[in-house]
């Protein structure tokens, strides 16, 4: 039975500006007409089946916090933590209620009122610190549970991590011996007259799924592009956003903007749906909210940012040129941060046209995998509960490999499949496409 608790923060008087982040989204909060349509789309609600877990509930709680009907207490903290920031509800909401932004605002208010949790403080410390990052410590922060201990360099996904204060059940991937960015020069020149592409790599690719970075390089070089990998790029900051640590996100956003603006890019390319979501949506919507000058710069970067699959199609990648590859049956999982940007058709078309690929659609390909940034740290079981349906669908599709456009999803999908003892490979779309390109 859940009755009022006497949590430590219960009844603390609200400090002066604590509610400011929520006030900034008050207009958005008021747009919610409580129709309940999000019950059909919110993955967390799907798993928990309780109204406080659905977008409508979270918006109602945010609204009540503003009107002083509900306090920023332990329970509000718990409710606001139950969001993947996946945008599934936003995409389907007839009234354009940006619940993800509202939850971020609530988390910022909670962080101001109560301070960051130990975990999120650590996340912030790691993602702000390039040294820590290049030591490989960061990937852990990004993926949640992994990073506060050095990861033994044994292979594949076979590790089970006994971590001090977070879910210890996750199978986590191996950490690369040498981060992707340290393996390549900053500028890799291509053919004259071909596009200049600035690659925003992202931590998961840099430290864990380096093969995604290699595949991206191979493909864009195959097209003759100049690829620039700005040295001073940072974590996109989304893990910090998850915890309401907006100060860190702003700091990182500014650094990333500077790093990206420096190079005259025709395109800014990401192969990580989450990083793409940050550059595209969250920087302008959240970071820029109270800084008009920053907002303009965020928008300029957002305009140039393109997902790798979309860009490959745009630049006319002809997969046939890439030669006949091993026969492989592939299905595709839609990362939320691509799906909500309407990038669903292009990766499938590319996969289908890739030689040797037999494409099969799985049931519920558009459903969230349940990772949700640091969500999975606090709610590992719910996270894997959401993932269970996904694993089943992948297995039912009969595919040899599941392709997707987000290294975060890759980790989550691997974990789910691994726990079922399945042999299905988890690949990035770019890996499938670049199978036959000589590197």
């Amino acid at each position: 039975m859940r009755v009022p608790t006497s949590g430590q923060a219960q009844g603390l008087p609200l400090q002066g500006k604590t509610l400011d982040p929520l006030k900034r989204v008050e207009k958005e909060i008021k747009k919610c007409v409580k129709c309940g349509a999000c019950r059909a789309h919110c993955p967390v609600f799907g798993a928990l089946q309780r109204e406080p877990a659905v977008a409508r509930g979270k918006v109602a709680i945010a609204q009540a916090v503003l009107s002083h009907g509900i306090e920023l207490d332990d329970r509000t903290y718990a409710d606001m933590s139950k969001c993947l920031l996946c945008g599934s509800c936003v995409e389907k909401c007839a009234n354009d209620v940006p619940t993800d932004e509202i939850v971020i605002a609530a988390r910022e208010a909670l962080a101001q009122q109560r301070g960051l949790t130990t975990f999120h403080k650590a996340v912030g410390r790691v993602i702000r610190n390039r040294k820590l990052m290049s030591m490989g410590a960061v990937a852990a922060a990004v993926m949640g549970p992994l990073f506060f201990r050095k990861v033994p360099a044994t292979s594949g996904l076979r590790l089970r991590f006994p971590l001090p204060f977070v879910g210890s059940k996750r199978h986590i991937p191996n950490i690369a011996k040498k981060p992707f960015m340290e393996r390549h020069p900053e500028v890799i020149p291509g053919e004259p007259g071909k596009p200049r592409i600035v690659y925003f790599v992202g931590c998961m690719t840099n430290f864990v799924y380096t093969e995604v970075g290699e595949a991206a390089l191979a493909l864009f070089r195959h097209l003759g592009c100049t690829v620039i990998i700005p040295r001073d790029q940072q974590c996109c900051g989304l893990p910090g956003m998850s915890g309401g640590d907006l100060a860190t996100v702003r700091e990182l956003a500014e650094k990333n903007l500077a790093a990206l603006e420096k190079h005259q890019a025709d395109y800014i390319m990401t192969a990580c749906a989450t990083c793409g979501g940050a550059l595209h949506k969250f920087y302008p919507a959240v970071v820029g909210k109270k800084h008009p000058e920053l907002l303009e710069r965020c928008k300029a970067i957002a305009e140039k940012t393109v997902d790798a699959a979309l860009l490959l199609q745009k630049l006319g990648l002809n997969p046939v040129e890439t030669g006949e590859g091993e026969g492989i049956r592939v299905t595709y999982h839609d990362p939320c941060h691509l799906r909500t940007r309407n990038i669903t058709r292009q990766p499938r078309e590319l996969l289908k046209s890739s030689p040797g690929v037999e494409f099969v659609e799985m049931e519920g390909a558009d459903k969230c995998c349940g990772l949700g940034g640091t969500f999975n740290v606090y709610h590992y079981d719910t996270s894997m509960g959401i993932n269970a349906g996904k694993s089943t669908a992948i297995l039912n599709s009969g595919a040899d490999a599941v392709a997707t456009g987000c290294p975060g999803c890759m980790m989550q999908l691997s974990d789910g499949l691994q726990q079922r003892g399945a042999k299905t490979r988890v690949m990035h779309t770019l890996e499938v496409l670049s199978r036959n390109i000589r590197r």
């Binding site: 007409v33 059909a40 109602a60 329970r75 509000t76």
Partner: protein
Amino acid sequence: MLDSRIIQKLTEIVDEDNVAAEPQDLLCYSYDATQMQFKPDVVVYPADAEEVSLILKMANSERIPVFPRGAGSGFSGGSLPKGGGILLVVTRMNRILRIDTDNLIAEVEPGVVTEQFQEAVEKLGLFYPPDPASLKFSTLGGNVAECAGGPRAVKYGVTKDFVMGLEVVLPTGDIIRTGGETVKGVVGYDLTKLMCGSEGTLGVITKIIFKLLPLPEAKKTMMAVFDSIDGAAKAVSTIISGKIIPTTLEFMDHATLQCVDRRFSLGMPAEGRAVLIIEVDGDRDLIEKQAGQIHGLIKPLGLVQFRVAKDAAESEQLWKVRRLVSPSLRDVNPTKYNEDIVVPRSRVPDVIRRIEKIQQKYDIPIVNFGHAGDGNIHVNVMIDKEIEGQEEKAHEAIKEIFQAALDLGGTMSGEHGIGLSKAPYIPLELSPVQIAAMKAIKHALDPNNILNPGKMFPE
């Protein structure tokens, strides 16, 4: 406030995890799609009829109000715990118990989401037609309790037409079965029909037996644009008297089209004043033929554009126009009162004209769209509550709209129910004797008035 003894008793009936009473829980079960708010004292999630029965027995002897709730998507406040009490959420009871392909029936628990049920039966080549626009999230229990309808009602009818039997926990805690699995059955009063549309005031539905149909082979969607509202209304009766019963006949008036067009360019001919979305289903050959026949029938009625969807994608495009209506209305004014009057099909133009007059009189925007095929019109009175006097005006206008529907031989509400928001108006439609008869039924089943009190009848 309930004393902790009651909460204690509830935790003895269901386990601790299924009783919730923190402020956040109470807040999140205080609203539905009407946007009114009333907080319960405690929320309970029973697992089956036995638990519901124990909860109701306890509540009945303690005289504590109990409010059943499905998805909370109701449009009339039916699930709102006004005055406080126990909010009883049925969504844990969410299993499809069986689908019987020999007898074309299915038995479900009330918390199953409408669309999930439809998908399950369609996999077996069967069909459950009722299709409220909320089908992706509303529950079947809520559908039965409100007797929900949808576009397909023209041809197939509404929820109650598919309910063959129920398991109901009465307010006293007794569990009864009504109806059954047979097409025929005349023993005793028809309690099944009584429960349909009873809005959770007579009992908590814990199982439903539905009738199913074979899934039609194919469907065809058409969009017809007319130069007058009369043309569109005439088209409805012409099609039906032409011996074609379409699955749906959805109607949008000029004001609606303008709203949609403001956000999404529809490419509508300038002289278009009303639109019908027409769908037929059945054998592939038959519906091809019907589409041609429909075109022939409505051509002389001021038809300015006629589009037939070639495939599922094009059909989706046409339906998208209809679905864009609700969200785009908000651009007119922030608050909408969404009424759902019904008139006999042939009176649709008359009622629209009456509503135009009411709109002029009160000078507030009123937008009409809905299910022309069964005369069910969604009348949206759009106001800005910030502007002084508008709310009062809206209430006056709504009263006149109801009166107009009644004058034309219709009814105040086709599918959204009475609940809290329409209770004050029912004396317009029902005589004191009718109301007394209904209250007598309520009193007989719920002598202490503990189940969903304050709903349906004016206070």
